[in-house]
Amino acid sequence: MKFLKKIIFFYYREYKLNMSGVQDILTNIVFFFLSVFIFIFSIGPDKETISTVGVAIVWTLLLLSSTLSLRKFYQDDFENGNLLIIHLNGFSFGFITILKTFSHFLFVQVPFLLSIPIACILLNIPNDKLLYLFTSFGIGSLTLSCLGSISSSMNLMNQRNFLLGSVIVMIFSVPIIIFSVGIINMAQNFNSLINILFGILLIVFAINPWASGLCLKLSIENN
């Protein structure tokens, strides 16, 4: 009971930190749309072309948005000592990473998810693909959050390991992207591809608390 309360107030804290108001979420969305605009401007107004690359644009932006915010993941809390305080308040490092991953998902990825339908209109993505896009995006973005957690916790440690962090993220994100984009273009294989995506998510999700937790522990130890 008390633990549950602590979790709730963890998110209250994250909310306070991330949001000075609704305008922050809105800024996220505006950022998304502006990026779409910029793509369109550079590609040109041709309907055909736009709807071919539409899905790719949405996916790239997702990737961008999750890399954009990586620094916020642990860095700030680590530097100002709040990670430690959260730990001393009774959360193991592994558990902190789970909470943080969801918080990243919630405050960074979800606003994008919400703006996808409108983006579909703008990008001429057919309505029947919307479902696929949502599913793949939902799974993919959570996977990216986990990967982001791993790589940014590795970045806290010695600079020596930086390559590892980036490489891990890259290796895992390539299949995610192949399958997610594949889902949308080859609708007949939907189920099997979704299963693969889901499998990747599970693996990454299971590794995450262990790997990131260890990194957090080590970096606090060496601080």
């Binding site: 000075s20 305008q23 749309f33 605009f37 209109i121 001429n124």
Partner: protein, 232 residues
């Protein structure tokens, strides 16, 4: 005319004209809706979807007009150190944003039956979308910058730079041939529109304008008060 630049004068006048403006706007709205739904004819090409025009065109005009006035005030505020301009910018930007949003939504609703899609990337639509984003950014800057002196200057400069977009919106239909309707009503020579459609359009424009002025008065007054109480 001092009330257009002086906060305390503005407060005086505003108290006088607020109620009449509100009443007028309600009157015009009632009249306009009556006209546009019952008293105006269907278009011979577009059928009754033409009635969207009575929302679309006024909101589009007002979106542009609002921004134009903001630009004017920003220049005045920066050049003559006139704080009322800053107050005006802060207060009026959301109103402009809403007009723009109405214009975009009504335009898309109109576009679906006319062009077959909600959205195309033609110059007018795109530039209006940019206008909307500019309005949003102005609002965001107002909300997130703490230092007021900096914030209002940033906003004013941003408004001025963004005003490049206005002529693009206005003339995009002439410069590039696009799907969107070229100027039919607002042509400088003789408008090529039937008077039976012209009347409700003008009435609706007035209605939009009045409601805009009413909300603007309220917002400017609150802004003045909040500045007095919180000097920072």
């Amino acid at each position: 005319m001092k009330f257009l630049v002086n906060p305390s004068k503005f407060n005086e006048i505003a108290d006088y004209i607020f109620k009449p403006v509100l009443v007028l706007s309600i009157l015009f709205f009632a009249l306009g809706l009556l006209f546009s739904f019952y008293l105006s004819p269907d278009d011979y090409q577009q059928g009754s979807t033409v009635r969207i025009m009575y929302v679309h065109v006024p909101s589009a005009w007002l979106a542009l007009l609002t921004y134009a006035i903001m630009t004017f005030y920003s220049i005045a505020a920066l050049a003559f150190r006139m704080p009322f301009g800053f107050i005006f910018n802060t207060a009026v930007a959301p109103i402009g944003a809403i007009f723009t949003l109405i214009c975009i939504i009504s335009g898309s609703l109109w576009g679906k039956p006319m062009w077959g899609t909600w959205w195309v990337w033609d110059a007018r639509l795109t530039s209006v979308a940019i206008l909307f984003i500019i309005y949003l950014i102005i609002i965001f800057i107002n909300l997130s910058f703490e230092n007021r002196v900096v914030r209002e200057k940033v906003v004013a400069i941003f408004v001025i730079v963004g005003s490049v977009n206005l002529p693009i919106i206005k003339f995009s239909v002439d410069w590039w041939n696009t799907l969107h309707q070229p100027a039919t009503i607002s042509k400088l020579a003789k408008p090529s529109i039937d008077p039976s459609m012209m009347t409700p359009l003008i009435i609706m424009t007035f209605a939009f304008m009045m409601i805009g002025v009413a909300i603007a008065i309220l917002r400017i007054k609150t802004e003045i008060i909040s500045r007095k109480s919180n000097l920072s």
